[in-house]
């Protein structure tokens, strides 16, 4: 989870008031006895046990602990922070001056969350660089105070310890963590276009080898307790405790606290030594080198080049992280902290960060099923077709405990599909996500078959048979004979209108579209399509299945190409036109990647399949007419006839050799293109090619909102980014317009309209936004 991060405590004043009452030494002799305990405030409780102060984060009425949560109405963030800081310092003074307190434990009251970070809204609410920089500085000061405490401070971690949470733990002197699947330690700020701004960039690099710390900050990679111990992030691993008289969670948290207190005591009386983490071997020299001026080669060649290669320089955050880390390593902590706060403040104001934060918020919002709880839980899923899609859908379902009856026409097809599933799960075993025993248990949920024998058990059917309306009709009629009354029928199609497929159904209210993206186990998006007749409960069921499968689910209205396919089609059409104009496939790929698409559009066409692209272009061309024109449809048709179906057939726009990674351009495909050669418009630049593709994509998305295919802009952004790879740093078509303005886009489209005509006609909603720049799709 990209997440929540840095900040400062809020309810510190209450800490201070309560602390005044922590005095005397009553009961200290009793082992583990509570000498003082008070619940104060909403965010923290504080106890002294056996001479060890236990500060427990436990935000009431919240599922996760946030390090900082500001009242939205609270405008005077800065001053409040300074006040809080001052009081916080007093708390530390109080603890340090209390001779009875020999050590301190920082722990959470929640079993599955240490501190998940700070409220993202706090950063979104910053009005300018200064405010955001101040936030970072306050966080730095607070953690420096924590780090400088004279008594040992132990962080006791169970559950998510991300962003500001990990920065809290890093400022403590010793970290112990529970060996559970929920424990996750990382700094995911980079995914939000930010950096760990409360000393994280400095402390991570000090604690861990360069080679571990940098990837952690640059990718947001998170560690569990055991791997954290291995790399030096964690000092001691606590085994999770099972159920006894009390619940497993209660027992585990009690044990974590017990071991944390024993550790703090041990550190205080010297029986436990803080392990001196001397960096060894190669790491030692790399770190030495990196912190000298001579080491620039590591920063420039080793790290920066790799980042540039991946991001094309489109993402400022990783570059700033490198800069800040380097400053700290080479010029010392003072310069490092200064650079960190400055970079944090500036990053927080970048459109890239706002775009990424928007996506994160959208993703979080979509975790809720807006149709509510379905009347009955889906336990058994009938999967028709064991092809790439079908097997993929089966895999993500059994993985979450849904029983799947996987049906194919032939045993060969079925066996191939089952192999795909096994391979997918084996990869998870290799990556230690699951054990091989758990893999066996997961596979037990799969029932491969070539007949309909057990379909009477199904709660939902997902069909992924060939994209042919007649075949789909036949399948619907056949299957509806075999399934129970309550069973939902979902069609996984990328272009056929669900309403047309549903014509064959005797219960259209149970009919729905579930459009998965290939490869299903990797692509996060699921597009659910409802028709006018689809019932609310059917939609609720389908969404809950998607959520259970771990998907980001958007729900759109039926129409030709729904949402995702519809906005992709004109883009591909424009790509074909560019190819006809003589732009080579690799040039087109580099242009689109240069714009920020993760996959070049020529490669994308090969991945999707030229036949599928031709099919979609034809169907949608019929539905939307000239507006969807661009490239000549015959280019795709001829390629299909020639057998150039894309990667799956070994030949498409590119040639795919089985063992080589190289993909030379397919000269035969080039010959076809040459037959349909067009002259490029005079003055057509590389940038024009990029914007011709993007503007048609964005315009069509806005039109989907205008026509009510999309329920809201947020789902449109999520669908475009997670399903089609629209550049995440632009935040999706709608966020793009909000951040970069509709007018500049409309102006470009006017130019292209002059060149190519109706395909570049901006829709009304886009024109409205161009006319009035104060109009925004997103309120936040």
């Amino acid at each position: 989870m990209a997440g929540r991060f840095v900040g400062v405590f809020r309810q510190i004043s209450t800490v201070n008031r309560s602390l005044a009452r922590v005095s005397g030494d009553h009961g200290l002799k009793n082992f583990f006895s509570t000498t003082a305990r008070m619940d104060f405030g909403k965010y923290l409780t504080y106890t002294v046990k056996d001479g060890i102060a236990v500060a427990k984060f436990d935000e009431k009425d919240a599922k996760v602990n946030l390090l900082v949560k500001f009242d939205e109405k609270d405008a005077k963030v800065n001053t409040l922070n300074r006040g809080t800081m001052a009081e916080f310092q007093e708390v530390y003074k109080e603890i340090t001056n209390n001779p009875n307190v020999k050590g301190m434990v920082v722990i959470s009251g929640k079993a599955d969350c240490f501190i998940a970070g700070a409220d993202i809204n706090m950063i979104s609410d910053c009005k300018n660089v200064q405010e955001a920089t101040a936030l970072s500085r306050n966080g730095q000061d607070m953690f420096n105070n924590l780090e400088n405490m004279k008594i040992p401070v132990v962080a006791a971690i169970n559950g998510s310890c991300l962003g500001g949470g990990l920065e809290t733990a890093l400022a403590c002197h010793y970290r112990i963590a529970v060996n559970s699947k929920k424990t996750s330690m990382g700094v995911p700020e980079v995914m939000l276009g930010l950096l760990p701004g409360a000393g994280g960039t400095q402390r991570l690099l000090k604690l861990l080898p360069f080679q571990t710390a940098m990837p952690m900050m640059l990718t947001g990679k998170a560690y569990n307790a055991k791997s954290g111990k291995k790399i030096g992030l964690v000092d001691h691993v606590v085994e999770p405790i099972g159920v006894g008289i009390k619940s497993a969670n209660e027992n585990t948290m009690e044990e974590l606290e017990r071991e944390a207190i024993l550790t703090a005591k041990g550190l205080a009386d010297g029986t436990i030594k803080k392990p001196v983490r001397s960096k060894k071997g190669l790491n030692k020299y790399i770190d030495m080198f990196a912190s000298s001026r001579l080491g620039n080669i590591f920063w420039e060649k080793g790290v920066k080049d790799a980042v540039m290669k991946q991001t094309k320089g489109k993402y400022p955050a990783p570059l700033r992280i490198i800069e800040v880390a380097k400053t700290g390593a080479q010029q010392g902590p003072r310069a490092g902290y200064e650079a960190e706060a400055k970079a944090f403040g500036e990053l927080a104001m970048t459109p890239e960060s706002k775009a990424l934060v928007g996506l994160f918020n959208g993703q979080t919002a979509l975790k809720k099923n807006k149709f509510g709880k379905p009347e009955r839980e889906v336990k058994t899923l009938g999967m028709l077709g064991a092809g790439l899609m079908g097997a993929g859908i089966a895999q993500v379902s059994i993985d979450k405990g849904i029983d799947v009856i996987l049906k194919d026409v032939t045993t060969q097809g079925l066996s191939r599909g089952e192999d795909q599933i096994i391979k997918g799960l084996d990869t998870k075993v290799q990556r230690k996500k699951i054990t091989s025993f758990e893999k066996d248990q997961v596979l037990t949920h799969l029932e491969p078959t070539i007949n309909y024998e057990h379909f009477s058990k199904c709660d939902i059917i997902v069909e992924a048979v060939f994209e042919d309306l007649k075949l789909k009709h036949k399948v619907v009629r056949e299957v509806e004979q075999k399934i129970p009354e309550h069973c939902i029928f979902a069609s996984n199609t990328s272009a056929l209108p669900i309403t047309s497929i549903a014509e064959a159904s005797i219960r259209p209210d149970k009919f729905i579209g579930m459009h998965y993206f290939s490869p299903v186990d990797k692509m996060q998006l699921l597009e659910i399509i409802t028709t006018d007749k689809t019932s609310q409960d059917t939609a609720a069921s389908a969404v809950s299945v998607g959520l259970k499968q771990g998907k980001v689910v958007i729900v759109v209205k039926d129409g030709p190409g729904f949402y995702t396919t519809r906005i992709l089609a004109p883009t591909l059409s424009e790509a074909v036109r560019a190819l006809q104009e003589g732009v080579s496939p690799s040039k087109l790929d580099s242009l689109t990647r240069g714009f920020g698409w993760p996959v070049g559009v020529a490669t994308l066409a090969d991945e999707v399949g030229i036949d599928v692209a031709a099919h979609v272009a034809e169907d949608l061309g019929k539905a939307f007419g000239e507006r969807f024109g661009g490239g000549n449809i015959n280019v795709l048709r001829d390629m299909v006839t020639a057998g150039f179906l894309g990667r799956k057939s070994g030949k498409g726009v590119y040639l795919y050799q089985s063992k080589s990674k190289k993909r030379p351009e397919n000269t035969e495909a080039k010959a076809i293109l040459d037959r349909y050669k067009l002259d490029p418009k005079p003055g057509n630049t590389d940038e024009d090619v990029q914007y011709r593709l993007a503007s048609r994509f964005i315009n069509e998305a806005v039109m989907c909102l205008q026509e009510g295919i999309l329920a809201n802009p947020m789902e449109g952004d999520i669908g475009a980014v997670f399903g089609l790879g629209f550049p995440p740093f632009l935040g999706g078509p709608f966020r793009y317009i909000d951040l970069h303005g509709a007018k500049q886009l409309v102006d470009r489209m006017k130019k292209y309209h002059d060149w190519y005509g109706v395909a570049f006609e901006p829709c009304q909603l886009l024109l409205d936004h161009a006319k009035d720049p104060s109009k925004k799709f997103h309120t936040r």
Binding site: E239, P240, I241, G242, V243, G244, I245, K246, A248, N251, E255, R258, E259, L262, T435, F437
Partner: protein, 402 residues
């Protein structure tokens, strides 16, 4: 766990084996009341005639050069000699074992042949982790109750001094392939594969659950924490067990133990060598064995890895009486339970005790002696804590109270 009713004192020492074998019993005596008749209509009465065992030694001590069936053979022949029952009378032999010696995988059969039983007497071996030899006994009960047999010898054997250590899977594959490799090229290819150090890393039999990869000691330590069993309580209980065992040996109460002659060892082995009463002070010095450094299970409050074997003779009541043998006990009922292998692996007694009592229509007050065989003092205490708890009874046993 098997449950022996109408059997007043802890005299029957059937070794319960697990990978970490144990030989401590916890015995709780209740005031004696009038006995109910537990005979079941239409079910034959099954009786225990006699039971014997070898001394139990810590693995790697005096038995270390033997093979496991040697120990089992001793108990089998010793049982016949002690009872005077003719080998022709024995219809069947069944043994329980956990870690198998691959050469004698049906160790019951190998041992009874060595012991001079009739070669026409069938025998088989069962395994069910710690309760393998109880599984052997209840298998025998089933055979007799079903009218299949009249007299069955049931026993158990474990030999931790020599557990099978295997070549790695890679090496095994190379070895198996080498018999098929005919050409020099193929042979060289295999030789090349064998050059990797990973190929030479042996596989040790883990004392761990396959499903969770967790060792028993680790699971036990977590169980103790889950039920709040302190180190001190465990040490005290372990000390009590050692003291009882030592007193029983001192008083000559362990009449089931057969002396064992180990070749080249001057003295006969006559006593268990792991009974070592100590002081709390001594025990408190030990470091935790599994969860370091804050775990509570140590070498002193857990049982040792053991070598040993046992055998008992079970008969239908009529058969025993017709041979003029006096039954030592009537075997009335038994129950097996299973729970979550991760967090309740070692919590069997808490489930089995109420269940077997209910099944037999008995209450706590009807029982004079409970005997539990478990590997860890803390485990017994955790189970007793669970049994003492209304909460546990409600949540896990489906009962309204303990």
């Amino acid at each position: 766990m098997a449950f022996l009713s109408n059997f007043p004192k802890a005299a029957l020492q059937i070794q319960l084996k697990s990978a970490g074998a144990r030989c401590f019993a916890s015995t709780t005596t209740q005031s004696s009341k009038s006995k109910k008749t537990l005979a079941k209509p239409n079910v034959r009465n099954v009786v225990l005639v006699e039971g014997v065992r070898t001394p139990f030694l810590m693995s790697g001590t005096d038995y270390k050069d033997l093979m496991p069936h040697n120990l089992a053979t001793k108990t089998l022949s010793g049982l016949l000699k002690r009872t005077g029952v003719d080998k022709d009378v024995i219809d069947y032999v069944v043994y329980g074992t956990v870690i198998q010696e691959v050469k004698t995988s049906n160790i019951a059969r190998e041992a009874m042949l060595s012991a001079g039983f009739k070669d026409t007497t069938p025998a088989h071996t069962v395994t069910q982790a710690c309760i393998s030899s109880n599984q052997a006994i209840t298998t025998a009960i089933g055979l007799i109750a079903a009218g299949q047999c009249e007299a069955v010898v049931a026993g158990g054997v474990e030999f931790m001094s020599d557990v099978p250590i295997r070549h790695s899977r890679k090496m095994r594959k190379i070895m198996l392939d080498s018999s098929k490799a005919k050409t020099t090229g193929k042979k060289l290819q295999l030789l090349w594969k064998a050059m990797s150090p990973a190929v030479w890393t042996p596989e040790l039999p883990a004392v761990a659950e396959f499903s969770t990869s967790e060792t028993m000691g680790h699971s036990a330590d977590r169980l103790c924490t889950a039920f709040g069993i302190t180190r001190l309580a465990q040490d005290e209980f372990a000390m009590r067990s050692h003291k009882f065992a030592a007193d029983a040996i001192q008083a000559g109460l362990l009449t089931d133990v057969l002396p064992y002659k180990v070749p080249k060892v001057a003295e006969y082995i006559t006593k268990d060598n792991g009974v070592r009463p100590s002081s709390l002070e001594q025990m408190s010095k030990l470091k935790p064995a599994f969860i370091k450094p804050f775990g509570t299970i140590t070498a002193a409050n857990a049982s040792f890895l053991t070598d040993g074997a046992s055998a008992c003779l079970l008969m239908s009541e009529e058969k025993a009486l017709s041979l003029g043998l006096k039954p030592k006990a009537y075997l009335r009922d038994f129950v097996y339970v299973s729970q979550d292998p991760k967090d309740q692996l070692l919590l069997g007694p808490a489930y089995a005790t109420p269940k077997v009592l209910d099944k037999a229509g008995l209450s706590l007050a009807d029982i004079d002696v409970f005997e539990y065989h478990e590997a860890f003092a803390g485990q017994i205490l955790a189970n007793l804590t669970a049994l003492e708890s209304d909460e546990f009874a409600k949540k896990f046993l489906g009962k309204s109270a303990k």
